[in-house]
């Protein structure tokens, strides 16, 4: 523990790991609970994130379905898995391919924002589709779980310090 960065290193990874773990737990209700319920002329249906994307696919809106699937299911999972991998790499302390891992971190940081798509979608639909008995969209509890998972993931990424991917003696890349 003579490494002067050891303490900072531990603090940053511990916070990030805790946040990432919480986000992973929140992803479970986010994917199981319904996020939106749509009422159209008497018929009522509740959609989870996955069934919403499937419904778009069934309507023939393949590109849109792919966007929703990527933003709401693929990115949260990929991002948490990637962050977990980075944390394990730092934890193991073996010589790291620092340059490549930093690029992975930058990529994770960039894609994270797009998973907010479903939250904005729910907000917009709730505001617009209020036609009394003909058509009404109501947000359900799943969207809150999903939003908290996304927020926690972003916080975890911010808590993670990419400097920990570099050996303490080596100057940081400019």
């Amino acid at each position: 523990m003579r490494n002067p960065f050891a303490n900072a290193r531990f603090k940053s990874t511990a916070t990030a790991a805790a946040l990432a773990l919480t986000a992973a737990i929140m992803l479970v209700p986010a994917n199981l609970l319904p996020v939106l319920s749509t009422e159209t002329s008497g018929s009522n249906r509740s959609d989870t994130i996955f069934s919403g994307a499937v419904e778009l696919w069934r309507q023939g809106l393949w590109a849109i379905a792919a966007i929703v699937f990527t933003a709401s299911i693929l990115i949260p999972v990929l991002k948490l898995a990637g962050l977990g991998w980075l944390l394990l790499c730092v934890r193991r302390g073996a010589p790291l391919d620092s340059r490549r891992l930093t690029r992975v971190y930058a990529a994770l940081d960039f894609i994270g924002r797009w998973s907010m798509l479903d939250v904005f979608l729910a907000a917009f639909l709730t505001g617009l589709v209020q036609f009394g008995e003909f058509s009404t969209v109501t947000p359900r509890s799943g969207i809150v779980a999903f939003a908290s998972a996304v927020v926690l993931t972003v916080l975890a990424t911010q808590a993670f310090d990419p400097k920990t991917l570099w050996p303490a003696t080596q100057p940081l890349p400019q």
Binding site: T40, L56, Q59, L61, I64, I67, V68, A71, D109, R113, W114, M116, L117, D118, V119, F120, L121, A122, A123, F124, L125, T126, G127, L128, V129, Q130, F131, G132, F134, S135, T138, P139, I143, V144, A147, V151, V154, Q158, Q174
Partner: protein, 170 residues
């Protein structure tokens, strides 16, 4: 594409100006069986708030409205011409704030969400896109380009504001 400091400054100001009609003009008009509903930028936030999902309303309001605006302000101040002395004096706090806000200001995601929603609703209701949405799009892209040319993590300390500022490091 990396723009110069002045272009970035002008884009931030442009974004701030565009934000006004984006918030005030109708976003989307939807009609169903003679019933028409006009939605504004914050209609969704208001319905979430009154519907009891307050945390979500706050999140959407921050990420799609307030923080992009704050970031535009911060970028405009941080890249203001060095001649304006009182603006360029002590900005490390603002610079740090901008760095945090940058992660949470995501108007471009909201633009995509609105487009997805419109495609989704196409079969259900009659949709007309209002001018507010286009202003919001323009605002989002101004911010995106202004942001790209700004270095949020300068490797060197900020140069003294004596006019010898040669753009951003990197």
């Amino acid at each position: 594409m990396r723009l110069g400091r002045d272009a970035s400054f002008v884009l931030s100001i442009t974004g701030l100006v565009l934000a006004v009609p984006a918030a005030l003009l109708p976003f989307v008009r939807a009609g169903k069986l003679g019933d028409e509903r006009i939605s504004h930028l914050f209609t969704g936030v208001v319905s979430l708030w009154t519907g009891g999902m307050r945390s979500l309303a706050v999140l959407v309001f921050l990420c799609g409205g307030l923080l992009p605006l704050a970031l535009l302000c911060a970028l405009a101040i941080l890249q203001a011409p060095a001649r304006i002395r009182w603006l360029t004096r002590d900005r490390w706090l603002l610079r740090r704030a901008a760095r945090v806000i940058e992660h949470w200001s995501i108007p471009e995601v909201q633009v995509l969400a609105v487009l997805v929603a419109l495609m989704k609703l196409g079969s259900l209701v009659d949709i007309t896109i209002g001018p507010g949405f286009w202003f919001y799009c323009a605002m989002a892209f101004s911010l995106l380009f202004a942001q790209r040319s700004f270095d949020f993590a300068p490797s060197a300390p900020t140069p003294a504001p004596d006019g010898a500022h040669a753009g951003n490091p990197l």
